[in-house]
Symmetry: C3
Subunit: 206 residues, 3 copies
């Protein structure tokens, strides 16, 4: 069904983005598999746990597990092209947050949560996996490097509820929201909409 299809597409995008970063860190196959897993299911896991959907979705549906393992294996097999692949990390990550925003908002609606909470669930589903990936890979969390990252998801969520009444068939709505998230992020990055200076003297960590 269309919705599960979007969920799986997002899973593939994030699993590959996680595998790419893990290989960029020269992790071994198992390390790559773990980071791919965390990146792909991190956000959804937090969402399910906070809503009370337990065991969390991916633990009850082996499809996701196999998709993630397959994506990681794919990334490992093409290890040679790693330098070329790394350029596509940004692309896979962007597709991932777009699709997961839709998945998160929908899950919130099904659980009967308030629209504002649903938008929060969508943003969380989309951003948390990447944050965990970066923390485990010892990078500065993407959400902190370019906060337009989460902003794109929030705007996507708003779009969802703004247009909800106009779409009896949600399939088109899903696509529109995903495109809004992707567009906002691409435009933001294209026009260098990002944090001016990350570190200041009191940042002992630097």
């Amino acid at each position: 069904m269309f919705f599960q299809f979007i969920d799986i597409l997002g899973t593939i995008a994030f699993a590959i983005s996680g595998a790419l970063m893990a290989m960029g860190k020269r992790m071994d196959p198992f390390g790559v598999l773990i980071i791919a897993f965390v990146t792909a299911v991190g956000g959804g896991t937090l969402r399910d746990v906070m809503i009370g959907i337990e065991p969390v979705s991916w633990m009850k549906n082996m499809t996701f597990v196999y998709v993630i393992i397959g994506s990681a294996v794919f990334a490992v097999v093409f290890k040679k092209q790693i330098n070329y692949l790394r350029k596509s990390l940004f692309l896979f990550d962007t597709i991932g947050i777009a699709l997961y925003t839709v998945v998160g908002v929908e899950t919130g609606l099904v659980a009967g949560l308030h629209p504002v909470i649903c938008i929060a669930m969508g943003t969380m589903t989309a951003c948390f996996g990447g944050v965990l990936r970066d923390i485990l890979c010892n990078d500065i969390p993407v959400i902190f490097r370019e906060e337009i990252y989460a902003t794109a998801c929030i705007l996507g969520g708003f779009t969802y509820f703004l247009l909800l009444q106009f779409f009896a068939d949600r399939h088109i709505l899903f696509v529109i929201v995903a495109l809004v998230v992707i567009t906002v992020r691409l435009v933001a990055v294209r026009f260098k909409v990002s944090l001016p200076s990350l570190y200041k003297s009191e940042d002992n960590k630097q």
Copy 2:
């Protein structure tokens, strides 16, 4: 009711402390909103999830959501006075852990947990939001910079159970515990009770 009042006060204090730090990091309004949210609900979310209260409290009560958004907007509006406001970050943070310690211990009691676990819940409710705020803002977690931070909450929790039998009316007890936490931390900071040296040569991260 008095208890919810304390919870909301703590939420405001933490939302503002989160917004202040996010603005200090020059995040955009959305980034500020996210950090304010995480700081305010992080600890309570972990507590609820571990106890099994799902969907977690703040997701079922829009009051908290509006209070957090309001606090963040307030902080953004007064962006100009940021340098002045940042000085009060410590104050809001201290008020926050004091009130959240009470909230956490109470929640544990209502769930019928052992006193020791309740103290742990109170400490977690109080400290975890700030830890997440610091991790997302790429600062050294406050709990690590000055562990008297958590110590104050633990002592507050002990006070709660030491005096529990003497108070039929818990209102006064709540206030006393909060004051204990605030006093312990203020005294500790005033007399420089803190970690002598954080980093040692083997800390590759520095």
Copy 3:
């Protein structure tokens, strides 16, 4: 019963490993207690929450709480021998992941989860506490420094299901799996199977 015995042994090992690192960071007794707690219950908490066992195991069984407090006190009492003790941090940590891998896999089986998920639960139970310990202590997560860390747990989990059919009595199986994890890690460390270079120029954090 044997299974709980293994769980408690792992708890002691991790509580001590956490206390040792916290003292190495010159934290005060309370800081040491908190890190000991997080290291010992972090992995199991994540596992229980994802499966839906709430309140999480250790919150319903004071035995673990007392064991952790006892282990932390033990570590604090022997603070003088810290330099000697720190050498044993690696040992305690290795014993911990070995025992927790068994505990995690078993918990997954009892919850009726798919073998692959059970292996993930075992790896998570074993590795997450150490990761939290390192993040709170501002160290590079162990799972990132030497990914053979998690690899050992995954191999241990595979061993469990490979041999499951041959053991009516699981006691021996538990021991074999634990030995596999310990052996894999010791051999890996002995023969320097680890990441070639952790940091690359684009790692702004360094």
